[in-house]
């Protein structure tokens, strides 16, 4: 069953992905990302004046001979980056054919695999209108187990992206990496979601799940549109004029998301759920590396 959603070529593809933090990250554990703190790493970074209590083994005696000043050598200490993949599993993700949740799971799997190969701890947290029990990936060797758990993960419940982000932000004080995999279709609109995302201290990667029917819905005539999550109905008579307004509304939605991502410096990857996911990830994983 895993092969249906995560075929072997896909698994091989995601295993070569890496997530690398370009800027200093304040982490509590040793990992492979550059840290903002000087530590006992292998890469020289800078000097600083000796203070009583410092480790004398770090004193650069050559500098002392030249300057008669006690100076410590500072090195970069690799840190571990906590990666959280928030995976949208609300009911709307399972409506269409093929369901968006398939692509979402593949994106989540790719992100988790990229983080795991950097020895970063990964938590895949499904959500709908609240956070569901997470799926943990401690090491790359555990990837198959994660894929199986993702395969078996069900969908359901309404979407409340704003509440989920807000709740996540309150619970996770350490600024780690937050990867949000969703279509971002919140009943309250995109503005509250972006407002809550703005308050998140984590580094962000946004993976927006789209498809052609979002951009150009094949609807016409008198229709009663029913929201699949809350059952609310909207009666419309689709005319060319209304279609133009729809296009403008959807374009505005995408533009807001784009502007937010630019302001936050967060990579935004738009995944078309109608085409294979892995090639689309190349837009952010250049040469297999996503540099933050």
């Amino acid at each position: 069953m895993t092969a249906a959603l995560f075929p072997e070529p896909f698994v091989r593809g995601i295993q070569r992905l890496r997530i690398v933090a370009r800027h200093r990250i304040t982490g509590d554990h040793r990992g492979e990302h550059a840290s903002q703190r000087a530590g006992a790493g292998m890469d020289f970074r800078d000097y600083r004046a000796y203070s009583p209590g410092d480790d004398l083994r770090r004193v650069d005696w050559n500098v002392y001979r030249r300057t008669r000043r006690l100076m410590l050598r500072l090195y970069d200490e690799p840190q571990r980056l906590g990666v959280y993949v928030l995976l949208d599993v609300s009911a709307s993700m399972d409506l269409e054919s093929p369901p968006r949740v398939h692509a979402a799971k593949q994106v989540a799997a790719a992100m988790a695999a990229a983080a795991a190969h950097q020895h970063d701890p990964v938590l895949v947290v499904p959500f709908s209108n609240e956070l569901h029990p997470p799926l943990q990936l401690r090491m790359a060797a555990s990837l198959p187990r994660l894929l199986a758990e993702l395969e078996a993960l069900g969908t359901g419940g309404p979407t409340d992206l704003g509440a989920v982000v807000r709740g996540f932000a309150r619970a996770r004080r350490r600024p780690d990496l937050l990867i949000l995999v969703s279509d971002f279709f919140d009943p309250g609109g995109i503005d509250p979601v972006l407002h809550h995302l703005a308050s998140v201290r984590h580094r962000l990667i946004l993976a927006q799940l789209t498809r052609r029917s979002d951009r150009a819905p094949a609807l016409e005539g008198d229709l009663r549109l029913i929201d699949c999550e809350d059952g609310s109905a909207l009666r419309v008579s689709i005319s060319p004029r209304m279609r133009r307004h729809y296009d403008a509304a959807y374009a505005g939605f995408c533009a807001k998301l784009q502007r937010f991502a630019v302001r936050r410096g967060a990579p935004l990857v738009r995944i078309d759920t109608d085409v294979p996911v892995l090639p689309q990830l190349d837009s952010v994983f250049h040469g297999g590396v996503l540099r933050l």
């Binding site: 009666r235 005319s239 729809y246």
Partner: protein, 576 residues
Amino acid sequence: MIFTGISSLAVIGSLAVFGGILAVLHLLRTRPRPVLMVTTLFWEEARSATRARTLLHQFQQRAVLLLLLAAAALMVFSTSQPVVQSATQPARYVVLVLDAGLSMQAAAADAGKPRFDEARSAAEEVIATLGRRDRLAVVAVDPTPRVIHRFDQPRAVAFRQLRPLRPASQPADATAALRLADSLLADRASDDPGRILWVTDRRTTDVEDHRIAAGTPARLIPIQVGESLSNAALLAVSFRPDEAAPSRGRLHVRAGWWGETTATVRMVATAETSGAVVLDQEVAVSASGAVDAVSAPIPADGSVVEVRVRETEGVPGDNAVRLRLPNRPPIVIAADPALPAALRLALAATPARVVPPTDPAGALRAVSTVPAQPSPDRPVIAVNQEGAQMEAGYQVKGAVGAAAVDGLDFEGAVCGAGPAIERSGDASAFQPLLTAGGRVVAALDTPRGQPPTLLLSAALFERASTVVNQPAFALMISRVVRRLAGWDETPVSLPARRAVTDPAWSHALAQVSPIITVPGDRVTSDLRAIDAERGEPISGAAGSAGGFLTLYQTLIVLALALVVLDAYLHARRGMV
């Protein structure tokens, strides 16, 4: 507005039914298709942006429904034939006099229908064009005048009263009809003298004469229908047999005259085979009247007789009918001296002549016993002496389905003791006539290849028998004898169209078949218009209302236009 086609209640009911159906269909048509969506977020925004157009669209949908309802209402109104008139126009009292006399039976030369149909249509049109406040009474003259619609009755009733009317067999009494119409107008309280609309085939001058004779002061407006005719024609020809000697009878001929003055009509009947003239009479007849002539007794020998109306001075006529007389040859019965007296008496009451048994050729044979070898060409009336014996006292009844005893009453008749009649041959050729105690006591046996035989049980003539005293017994014997003699007594039927030698008659079928008229049956000839002078018809309120379309046609056109508009708006809705 008043509704002259259907009642107001029917109009309201029709509107309610059609309106309800249209509303339901409209709702079904506009019911949107449900579609399950991932999100309706963007459509909500789009709809808000197009809110004004949505309202316009909803208005258009309601307008479409109103258009459909308006179209349905117009269709209903067009069926109900409304009549609209200005309320300021004063009410008028109108008496419609409809001529349903003899002359209205005349058929138009090209249509073949009686002119009375044209008169009725003209009357209906007059009624339909009357104003809402006008008061209508209708007098039918068929041939005496009678009121069939009063002033206080609804207009729709007048139409229903006109439909069953038929032209009479006598000329219409126009003077009495105008007097009656005048009396109807005199009974109301109004300064308006009223109007009498007279639908007739009479000429204007004749109309005026009748008005003067009636002394009516009301304004008289003749509405002439049909062409003016002035010729004579046959109306009916029949052969009526004499009661005492049914093998003979007389021709009864009726002819009509459509002229304007008293004239003389000549009727001639000629036997085609012998050329003998059996009828040649000239009879005076009044204008638009009918006369009868009766011929001398003639034998009912199955020959063809031609009856013709011949032209006389001032009376054109070349109308003719060919009539085949019934075939009833004389009946002779050679009676056995040993016949029971009651049977001999019954035979004497038949049209036959009873003779001694000298075996004349062609005569029936009445024998006291069933002959051992009957003659193949001579029917037999035989008294049956052999068979299973019955006791006396059984009630005699007529057999079901036997035409010879149909309608005859044998109540109280009992049979004597004697042999029953038993079938010996083909069951289909054996027809019981009388039964007693479940046994056949009289039957008609017609075996193939043999002469028919009337079998009568000897029990009928026993002392204890009372059936021979019943008049029904004598009638049964008479019927059977006539049948055995081959008399033509089945009723003859006349085709719907009578065959005449008049060249104006256009029905080819009628030209080739011999026609026999049934006594009393009315036949109308196709009278040719010979008189070239015709008076100009004085048109009254009848006739078309003027304009390109009538009100009903206009309503229908409007309704169709609304339906087309509805279809256009429905199709265009997606382009808004």
